[in-house]
Symmetry: C2
Subunit: 272 residues, 2 copies
């Protein structure tokens, strides 16, 4: 999935060329190495606009350019900014032992994801399944909030106003035969997530994959990030989703205590 | 030093609001956490322009925002892009053993830096001195090419046209009493660097600091990056600069062989 494909239309006043620059960087990050004209084509940009944005990002060190292959790649400034940023690194350091423990016990890939203001969910870390053949995802990959278990754990604990705004802006797509396609069912599913503290997907996004996800709350009761796991539905079976979901929730509480010193979680919040 | 202070005026057609976004990200990265109005003040931006850029970067996950402290910080997308980027990581992985060896043997901080198209030199990795009190610098910090040893190793091996363009756009400032302030002396210093394969600073940038730097060349003969070391002039003394410089050059050759399979270095190139 190209990173930009799930970026939604902005609702507030945002700067168009900065949005374009972020789409360009997202595309190049997901492709690794790519020629300028391919960037323009892939993103449907005017070639000369795209060229100016590429030159500007190159100028600032956000991109690298290989004169021989004529390909762009992510530049050194990004890496050094990441090395200096605190928040995501702090989360990753606090969570990774828990993810490792999960993988040791289950052999299913475990991940951490954050909700972004553009209503995408970003995978920020993972610990890979130890199986030879396995389901996985990539750090940096973005999913829409309708990508089942991932989105549900964030949406279930939003303020009612924020949740309604998100739901109003979403179309619930039929990724598979089992996707929740109507809003009433989605809302009652979120109610269930609020009650049990974890969300699940039973082949709702990829037809061969099940997953469980649980939120980690900051002291103000907001979801800081979620941790989750995914596997083939033949391994993480429907019959065992509740068992693994509860296990993921307990792990999320452990992580929360380690990060914030409190196991407190918001109580179930009703609609309206 | 604020990251943006050394950014020079662009010479080609670049996108102004993308340049602004990069200045904003650079400032926030160097500050860690900062309020929006402080960003506008520090960078001399119109507050409403700055606000729009901040909102756009927040929207795309390039920034985080803490509603309690009302501070922005670097967002999760940067970290995940860095994790996926190859070039800088590849360099860091190849060079770090050499830097560690340097620090073991000398106890002086060692670093890797890259030349950016905006004519700044970016520190991309470092291994810290093991001394309790030490000279150091930060990953992500940018220096002007006139910052002595750093710039000299890049400039000495530029194509003559590129070098002249850079020298024409630079003012050689008097950072200290010992800074090289006239172009003729700077050019003959570059000639010396071409001959011996390493550059030095004898209290030319900070009045208490000496440093040695040596370039690593890619197979096409261009400087890919430099490695270097800095220390108090009382430790890395003037008398021993040549000894440490030659040692740094030998280490740079080792790194080059490991990365590119060749110890070949461009021969000294004369002016005109």
């Amino acid at each position: 999935m190209a990173d930009d494909s799930v970026l939604r239309k902005p609702t507030r006043r945002l700067v168009p060329s900065v949005l374009t620059a972020m789409r360009v960087l997202g595309h190049i990050s997901s492709e690794g190495h790519v020629r300028g004209n391919h960037v323009a084509t892939a993103l449907g940009l005017n070639p000369s606009t795209c060229h100016e944005v590429l030159k500007t990002l190159l100028y600032g060190g956000y991109l690298d350019y290989d004169a021989e292959t004529r390909e762009y790649s992510i530049g050194p400034v990004i890496a050094t900014m990441a090395a200096r940023s605190l928040s995501t690194d702090t989360i990753i350091a606090a969570v990774r032992p828990a993810l490792r423990q999960w993988v040791r016990e289950t052999q299913f890939t475990a991940f951490v994801a954050r909700w972004l203001p553009d209503q995408t969910v970003l995978v920020v870390d993972k610990v890979e399944s130890t199986k030879e053949i396995k389901m996985t995802l990539e750090v940096g990959q973005r999913f829409p909030p309708t990508a089942a278990a991932l989105g549900k754990s964030f949406m279930a604990f939003m303020d009612p106003d924020e949740l309604h705004a998100v739901l109003d802006s979403l179309e619930l797509p039929a990724y598979t035969e089992r996707s929740i396609g109507d809003r009433r069912s989605w809302e009652s599913e979120l109610q269930r997530v609020r009650q049990c503290g974890w969300s699940e997907s039973s082949r709702e996004f990829y037809s061969s994959t099940n997953s469980v996800v649980s939120p980690v709350f900051d002291p103000s009761g907001r979801v800081q990030f979620v941790i989750g796991s995914l596997a083939a539905a033949t391994d993480l079976t429907d019959e065992r989703l509740a068992e693994f979901g509860a296990k993921m929730r307990d792990l999320a509480i452990d992580v929360q205590v380690r990060l914030f010193g409190t196991a407190a979680r918001p109580s179930g919040r009703d609609f309206e």
